[in-house]
């Protein structure tokens, strides 16, 4: 993941307490890699987030939690078509797996 430096800077600036990450990745595998990066740390162990467990709550924009919180018209306009084309179930499953791990990190911290 190339933009780890920017994410780390944003975390340094805003702190982890009130921060949520929302992803727009196109499939479960890529969602998993991104979710892992912002929770446990960079799985490739090479970027600025290698070994850095931010433990941030992470969601994919198509997950039901986000959809329910969003304005239905905006959701439809911006991502309605993607809800049809992407495998929302598999993506949600993968992202929620890391969200749970993030909670463990937070509890431990």
């Amino acid at each position: 993941m190339e933009d780890q430096g920017i994410i780390k800077d944003a975390v340094d600036k805003h702190g982890t307490e009130n921060l949520i990450v929302v992803l727009g990745t196109p499939d479960a595998e890529s969602a998993g890699i991104f979710a892992e990066t912002v929770t446990i740390g960079d799985p490739a162990f090479s970027g600025p987030l290698a070994g850095v467990s931010l433990g941030l709550p992470v969601y994919h924009v198509l997950e039901s939690e986000v959809k329910e919180a969003a304005d239905p018209d905006v959701f439809e306009e911006e991502v309605g078509m993607m809800e049809i084309s992407l495998d929302v179930e598999a993506i949600s499953k993968e992202v929620s797996r890391f969200r749970e791990k993030a909670e463990e990190i937070e509890d431990a911290g």
């Binding site: 993941m1 490739a44 090479s46 991502v79």
Partner: protein, 482 residues
Amino acid sequence: MGYPVVRGVAYVLAHVPDLVRYGSKPEREIPKNPDLLSEIQDHLRDFSEARNYPPHQVFIGNMKPEELWEREQPWYENLISGAPRFGEWGEIYTEKEFYGWLKVADEFDLIYLTEEAAEEIETILSEHHLARPEHLEKLGDGVSRERVKELISGGALALEAEGELMGCIVDGHDEDENLTADILLENLSTKASGFLAVEKLMENIDLEREDIAFVINSGEEGVGDRYQRGAGNLAKAIAEMNGLSSSTGADVKAFCCAPMHASIVAGSLIESGVFDNVILVGGGSLAKLGMKMQGHLSKDMPIMEDVLAGNAFLFSKDDEVNPQIRLDTIGKHDVAMASSQQAIYSALVDKPLQKVGLTIFDVDKYSSELHNPEITVPAGSGNVPHNNYRMIGSFAVKHGLMEADELDEFEKEYGMPGFSPTQGHIPSALPFLGFARDRILKGEMKRTFFLGKGSLFLAKMSNISDGMSFILEANSASSSQD
């Protein structure tokens, strides 16, 4: 006289495993990890593996894209045995040959070959029909191995092949960071692979070099110096190398979308009567070699981004035979449009079809960005063409033209698996142009839809999206005779 035609295509690959380390990602990662270079070297393919790799055979025209769906995956483990290096409209070059063409492309004595390499490459190239005496002369006699080693210890980049030192490339200026050896290697690689694509195109068409009036380069590389970074006109440099003596040229740059912009510019130059024959060329991207290597290494698979690709196309005035680019309806993403996928697909697919009274199902094939999924998926970038076909199909679902459970079927009928190396402008829709032209000429297809997108936000100048599209159709003269 009708709309301009696509009169010829060419696709080439140069297998350059020893240049992977000079890709942007490896170049940044190697200094951080002392073991990485040898790990990379342990995961490189040899020439026969690259040649026998099914997506490469599709790229040069020897296999239909759809056949990849039938083949067992991973394709890199289920190779074709004894596949040819020559294709229906392309060719795969070896690394040593490519170093030879790099040297031929070098007008400024940047590349030093060793005496042994100069001799070996001269023998190799003289056996290839492409090499003319003036090319062989440009290879020179080389310099001593000691001299090359001296230059490398002074900062030159080593050029190696099959474990041997072949030569090096030096900086082009003492202070200019736009003319360092690695950037010049990047630019010369694009020039040389673009040259090879245009040479192949000249073989594939029935025109003389003097008949070409204009060359458009749609590659992403920004050639230039400290005062004009990315200033370009690599197009003309390639035209010179190809001996297109009656031609001039210019670059059209728009990230991955450039080939789509450039196709429409080329078509318009012909339609307006300014030129009769325009070549579109794009060379390979050295910076993108090994870009997704971390994903590949973590899965212990070969590093898949080990080839430089090039393509070239001839757009000509209507010959009443070849398929035509419909300039009465093109798709474009306007500044005021949103960046959501549905806004993009509405602009690129729905609007241009509607304008001429066609539906999504009146197109035989959609050619989107044809990134080989075996390169992208292990690195977490998803299966790009698969996702693109689902998005086009989802648009039809949203309009009530089909059901969501028909998306897989839609992809099979109107789509294809990705087979192109992932080098930005290279996979952008046009890898299928050869098949489209061929199938339309044979009457197997009537209409192909080409669409590309560009990530201009990467340059940090705008957060906006980009995309363009056009329809290629059977020649109106030939279809009216039916």
